[in-house]
Assembly symmetry: C2
């Protein structure tokens, strides 16, 4: 049975939980407290030298890190990941967009605001995230005006990757009311069988 | 025939050139000047709403962006990308590491220094990139002490992704002499058939 090291309040970890539930894959969830710096313990560094969650334990010798790599691994052969070709590459296009052009703004603004309580010495950084966060949301909005899910008519792991931090973007100061297609898309994901919300008690 | 929109001096674009050469795939290279803001023209936004290079033109209707998504698309079925399973996911683990934990430090420090000439108003930002850049290099060094290439005995697109900005890290202020395994690894990549160096005249 897989073991996930993570914190449900982290969007990157929540992605893994969502896919595991959608695919009804049994797993154990091991809570790791980032604020208590548990990702920097020698035991944790031994399983991920980059000191980040989530990590998927495959077996006693093999661990996989990077949330989107884990999603690709778990989704292989399922309806959430096209088998090959441009559709599969399009999933990755959205996932790399998420990590480079979305997460560093929306997730980091949320972290500063929700978890650190918007301290004065990080307020300027928080404000600096807003414009690029909105740019990322506008790119999603444009796509979701054309297609029901990010790569077409049915959900893929690209949607799971982008949903994780988008649906709680308000916690980083981003009001989603400006993005009606994103709001509808969130409701489609929330209506999928086995959907689970982002709460520690759901881990 | 594929067309690539890019600039060879951008590591993200150079990745695509390297793989196309390694796989002997014919292609056309269309130079795009970032400093002249050509990625922000209406014509360019129409092919990539995120206004970034590289972009791969697949056909008149289909364009693919995000360097690592393009690599996965082009490498499908080749020796540079394992067909499935943990090895394939491990490639993605390194590529997501590259985009989140390596490129934002090493490539951005290089950009500020080499392309902008280290202006006074960005010197603090430049300095702030150094510690995390070295952290990324240390993680690579550790892996390359265990395996010849990032995921084992033979090169994959994970190596191409990480090589692009690592081999010019000195242009961002990172001296590679501290990382002997990285230096050896660079030499293994540079010895591969059809290797081409990062220069505009090689596009």
């Amino acid at each position: 049975m897989y073991r996930v090291y993570g914190d449900m309040l982290s969007g990157n970890c929540y992605k893994i939980k969502l896919l595991l539930r959608f695919l009804s894959i049994e797993h154990e969830w091991r809570h790791v407290d980032i604020l208590a710096k548990e990702t920097h313990s020698p035991e944790f560094i031994a399983i991920n030298s980059n000191a980040k969650i989530p990590v998927l334990k495959i077996n006693d010798a093999e661990y996989l890190s990077e949330s989107n790599a884990i999603l690709n691994y778990l989704a292989e052969g399922s309806v959430y990941l096209p088998a090959s070709g441009l559709a599969r590459a399009r999933v990755l296009q959205w996932q790399f967009f998420e990590q480079y052009s979305h997460e560093p703004y929306i997730a980091v603004a949320r972290f500063i605001n929700k978890f650190l309580g918007l301290p004065a010495d990080r307020e300027q950084e928080y404000q600096s995230k807003q414009a690029d966060g909105h740019k990322a949301l506008a790119i999603m909005e444009r796509q979701l005006g054309d297609t029901r899910f990010l790569i077409g008519d049915s959900p893929s792991i690209a949607d799971i990757s982008l949903y994780a931090y988008t649906h709680v973007a308000d916690e980083g100061g981003f009001c989603l009311n400006e993005y009606p297609h994103i709001v509808s898309w969130c409701s489609y994901i929330e209506a999928l069988p086995n959907y689970v919300s982002m709460a520690r008690e759901n881990a």
